[in-house]
């Protein structure tokens, strides 16, 4: 090889490498973290049509605000079982199922206008961490999750109803409060009991 001009070789080598540009696009990712649709499904005890109340945030991290559709309207003197359905509408994924599977690191907390319900009484377990909520489900450690809860109405009334889902990896205990972990869901509805 003529060593006089190794730069030709260098240049050639470089141009070959530089010509390998591409135009590949990022693959579609299913964003499993996003919750777009939340439904509160109140089923009256002893049968009857379940009442469904929704909140929707179709653009996820986009700037459009969450839309809480309507207000929760419940009947007096009724016991309801509440199921909280969370869906990733972009991917059509059932997030409630995931939360149930990982129940040992999730818990739903509730807060509502004081003494709105006959049972539980009080204002829930967010502001007052010792407050009562009737949990009807359990994780593998026997601790409540909160996807299924029960509520008894008696007198008519109105106010607000807040649902808070906390992700508490390695933190969930029998005494962990709503202040622990990070929020996966935090929505407040208006509520009327009539």
């Amino acid at each position: 090889m003529k060593t006089k001009n190794p730069f030709y070789f260098l240049l050639f080598f470089t141009l070959i490498l530089m010509s390998c540009s591409d135009d590949d696009v990022p693959e579609a990712e299913n964003d499993e973290e996003i919750i777009t649709d939340v439904s509160l499904v109140f089923s009256p005890q002893g049968g009857g049509e379940p009442l469904v109340f929704k909140a929707v945030d179709p653009d996820g991290a986009g700037v459009a605000d969450l839309q809480v559709e309507g207000e929760i309207t419940l009947a007096v003197n009724t016991t309801y079982e509440l199921f909280i359905e969370m869906v990733n509408g972009i991917e059509n994924e059932d997030i409630s199922e995931e939360v149930e599977e990982e129940g040992d690191e999730h818990q739903l907390f509730f807060s509502f206008t004081n003494d709105l319900f006959a049972n539980p009484t009080g204002s829930g377990n967010i502001e007052a961490s010792a407050g009562t909520v009737n949990y009807n489900d359990q994780d593998e450690n026997g601790l409540p999750i909160g996807l299924i809860t029960s509520w008894r109405t008696e007198a008519a009334g109105q106010g607000s109803f807040r649902v808070l889902l906390k992700h508490q990896p390695d933190l969930k205990t029998s005494t962990s409060t709503s202040g622990v972990g990070s929020s996966d869901l935090d929505i407040t509805w208006d509520i009327v009991i009539e």
Partner: protein, 799 residues
């Protein structure tokens, strides 16, 4: 393209090989010193090997040998009672300075080669640190550079540190690793450069705008990393060192070995370190462990008139980020910030879990230098591969899945020609090419934060200088042009495509003048950088905030909308263009040396993110930030003073101040506050060994030039009242009170015995609680408490 390049190259080569003929008119001159006393050494013998030529140094240690025919020679320098040294000298280098070691002295004789003043740095203020002389425990580049006046550090917790020059950082300063731009995901404050400082001999900081020589991004300055030169004719030498430190219960081991023969020389280095959870004075900083491994190798092949150098390096790092700083919505963020000790604080451990970063960086570089009679050509080709994975706290299996997984492949080619002197002008001209390919790797289960892109950039420059008496004047100009093709996914997972071009003409003018014992330097230069891909396209939630790049939001009368992905024609975004004027006056007289620096940096269309509002989501409320641009002004100064009180006692004082203004109102978040640092050193000669004691008190002031503060509970209140107007009237604001000033006391005790150096250094000796204004995690936790480090170094000396 190929044809153009070939033609340029051919022109260079044909023009100057013709004038490369041989004459016996080479001359070598230099100065000989005694290494122990530092005094000039008369009567030393200097011989040119394989010839009859030789001389003896005069009363000032100076020598001169003329009429040498060869382009390169071996100089043999000897003196009775001193160790003989052989030095390879070629005539493309400046005058050598020779330090001869006495026979009974533990160190070896050394030669320092003179450098030619053709580096495009005329009038620039620069400072250099010798890695060898670093005293404090510096585990990364940011920490090491912080010791220079005018250089600060911006961090995201204790493990992620980036250098700040005169108030600017990230993609406003440039890192040149041995003649090659270090290409990495430089856009984030939380992305530190993947560099192991141990493999370098010195680090030089250019504090002026230096785009003309080094290309875009150099608005604030340039950091030049210099490895030890691959010298010929030296037997195996280098070092092995190991350290252990208390805060983080960590340790490191590293070694760098060199050897050089007649034509070939090489180097090899390796370093590994591990650190567990760090500690603030009052509590553990859980999940702040770190692991690093790096190695490097280099080979030089020397021929008459030509030098080839091949270097390769690999760096891998895994680092944890304070667990308590990873929060959910605004409520969670308020709770995390108000908590006395960070959430999730646990017992000490070495395990690193989410949130964390894993990065690896590999590079290969080929450098060629070809010497003509009075000129030379330098070519550098570099290939760099950078992989970055970032893990957030996520549900279930996704916790083990990175939410950012990027591969950046960069190729750089630099061709520089240093021309012969023409009517008193010396200078160089060059061509630089860059190709970058950035891809999101599939499988993150989250919509990519930045799109895929390919960028090609081409630049030409010319720098000329001329000496006029005691003054040197330099001017330079450069043109860069770049084009990027972009492929991304919008919020609905639909594809978008775009092509974006940016170009800019830059110029610089430098002047330096020496009179008596003083040196005045002044440099005014323009620099530019195109907006980064993340500034244009970032979209989404990162921890407790949401960020929208320029082209991901639109201003409407009703507020902002984020449904569409915009283009340059919808919303023009300009390149940032900076004009930095920097002046320094330095002097030395007897036992005092000093330097004063003053600068002005006007940046047109400075790009920054500013909080704009709050959006409510299923997860609750989140503040969102948008990218915008306004003109900015940075003004500041540095002062440093060195005093040699007695032959054993010396001290150094340095003071830095920078004032930043957003010219459309207010200032910016995170500008380093003023600081003052003093260092006192005392040497003791203990027979064979030498003991050095150093004490460094330093005070960092509170940042008084602060943006408006809007505490989070007030922000929540604004959201509850849906008070967009109040938000719109705010300038840039910060979400927490600026931390108070703080005092730190560091110390270093160093004992050198023959080839061994033992050192003990302590930082934050008083175990003071403090938070640094330039640390993004100051919202959540105090900074580091006391740390004691032990280090043992063994120097392998060349025979």
């Amino acid at each position: 393209m190929i044809r153009v390049l070939m033609t340029i190259l051919l022109m260079y080569l044909s023009c100057f090989t013709l004038v490369a003929y041989q004459k016996c008119d080479h001359k070598v001159e230099g100065t000989v010193f005694d290494l122990r006393t530092g005094e000039k050494l008369p009567f030393a013998t200097i011989l040119v090997e394989e010839t009859q030529k030789g001389t003896v140094s005069d009363i000032d240690g100076h020598f001169e040998i003329t009429n040498i025919c060869q382009d390169e020679v071996e100089l043999i320098i000897s003196y009775i009672g001193y160790k003989t040294n052989t030095h390879h000298h070629d005539f493309h280098h400046g005058s050598p300075i020779i330090y001869l070691a006495p026979e009974d002295y533990s160190l070896q004789s050394v030669v320092v080669e003179g450098e030619l003043l053709r580096d495009g740095k005329v009038g620039q203020t620069t400072s250099t640190i010798e890695i060898d002389k670093l005293t404090a425990s510096s585990h990364n580049l940011g920490q090491a550079l912080k010791q220079l006046s005018g250089v600060e550090m911006v961090s995201t917790g204790q493990n992620v540190n980036k250098p700040v020059i005169h108030g600017l950082h990230s993609n406003r300063i440039l890192i040149i690793n041995d003649d090659m731009r270090h290409e990495f995901q430089n856009w984030g404050t939380d992305h530190a450069p993947e560099i192991d400082p141990d493999q370098f001999q010195s680090i030089e900081v250019i504090k002026g705008a230096a785009t003309v020589k080094y290309g875009p991004d150099a608005l604030g300055g340039v950091i030049l990393l210099h490895p030890k030169k691959l010298a010929l004719h030296e037997s195996i030498n280098g070092f092995v060192k190991t350290s252990a430190f208390t805060n983080g219960m960590g340790g490191s081991i590293s070694s760098q070995i060199h050897a050089g023969g007649h034509k070939i020389s090489g180097t090899f280095g390796v370093r590994s370190m591990i650190q567990g959870d760090l500690r603030s004075p009052d509590y553990m900083l859980s999940n702040t462990g770190k692991k690093e491994t790096s190695f490097n190798a280099g080979l030089r092949y020397h021929m008459p008139k030509m030098d080839l150098e091949l270097r390769g390096s690999y760096f891998s790092q895994e680092l944890g980020i304070l667990r308590g700083s990873n929060t959910g919505n605004l409520d969670d963020l308020i709770a995390a910030m108000e908590s006395d000790i960070p959430f999730y604080t646990e017992e000490f451990g070495y395990a690193i879990s989410s949130p964390k970063q894993e990065v690896n960086h590999s590079s290969i570089k080929l450098k060629g230098k070809y010497y003509f009679a009075n000129s030379w050509l330098e070519t550098t080709y570099g290939l760099q591969l950078n992989n970055r994975f970032e893990f957030d706290v996520r549900r279930g299996a996704n916790n083990e899945t990175p939410s950012i997984d990027l591969t950046l492949l960069s190729q750089n080619l630099e061709i520089d020609f240093f021309h012969p002197k023409i009517i008193g002008f010396e200078g160089n001209m060059g061509l630089s090419l860059m190709m970058q390919d950035n891809n999101n790797n599939p499988g993150t289960n989250t919509i990519p934060f930045v799109p895929n892109f390919n960028t090609s950039r081409l630049g030409f420059y010319l720098i000329e200088n001329k000496k006029i008496g005691n003054a040197t004047v330099e001017f330079g100009t450069r043109y860069d042009w770049q084009t990027s093709s972009i492929r991304g996914r919008d919020n609905n997972n639909d594809l978008f495509f775009d092509n974006v071009d940016f170009g800019n003409l830059s110029a610089s003018l430098g002047f330096q003048y020496s009179f008596k014992d003083k040196l005045f330097r002044s440099n005014v230069a323009s620099a530019w950088r195109p907006p980064s891909i993340s500034e244009l396209y970032s979209f989404g939630r990162h921890q407790a905030s949401i960020e929208y790049g320029f082209w991901r939001y639109e201003e409407l009368e009703t507020g902002i909308a984020t449904a569409e992905v915009l283009t340059q024609s919808d919303k023009p975004v300009k390149s940032e263009v900076g004009f930095k004027w920097i002046n320094s006056l330095s002097g030395s007289k007897e036992n005092i040396s000093w330097e004063m620096v003053f600068y002005l940096n006007y940046i047109k269309d400075y790009i920054y993110a500013t909080p704009r509002g709050i959006t409510s989501t299923v997860r609750g409320a989140f503040p969102y930030w948008i990218y915008t641009q306004d003109d900015a002004l940075f003004v500041g100064g540095d002062v440093s003073l060195d005093i040699q009180h007695t032959s054993n006692l010396s001290s150094n004082l340095s003071i830095s101040y920078v004032h930043a203004r957003n010219l459309s109102g207010g200032t910016f978040v995170g500008i380093p506050p003023a600081n003052i640092r003093y260092e006192l050193r005392h040497k003791f000669d203990l027979g064979k060994g030498k003991l050095t004691l150093g004490l460094t008190p330093a005070y960092t002031f509170r940042q008084f030039n602060e943006p408006e503060i809007l505490e989070l509970p007030d922000l929540l209140e604004i959201q509850k009242n849906n008070d967009q107007e109040r938000l719109n009237e705010m300038d840039v604001f910060d979400i927490r009170e600026v931390p108070e000033g703080y005092f730190l006391l560091n110390t270093n005790v160093n004992y050198a015995l023959s080839q061994w150096i033992f050192s003990v250094s302590g930082s934050n000796l008083l175990n003071n609680n403090y938070r640094s204004y330039t640390d993004r995690l100051r919202y959540f936790s105090d900074d580091l408490g006391i740390n004691i480090q032990l280090e043992i170094k063994y120097k392998i000396l060349s025979k």
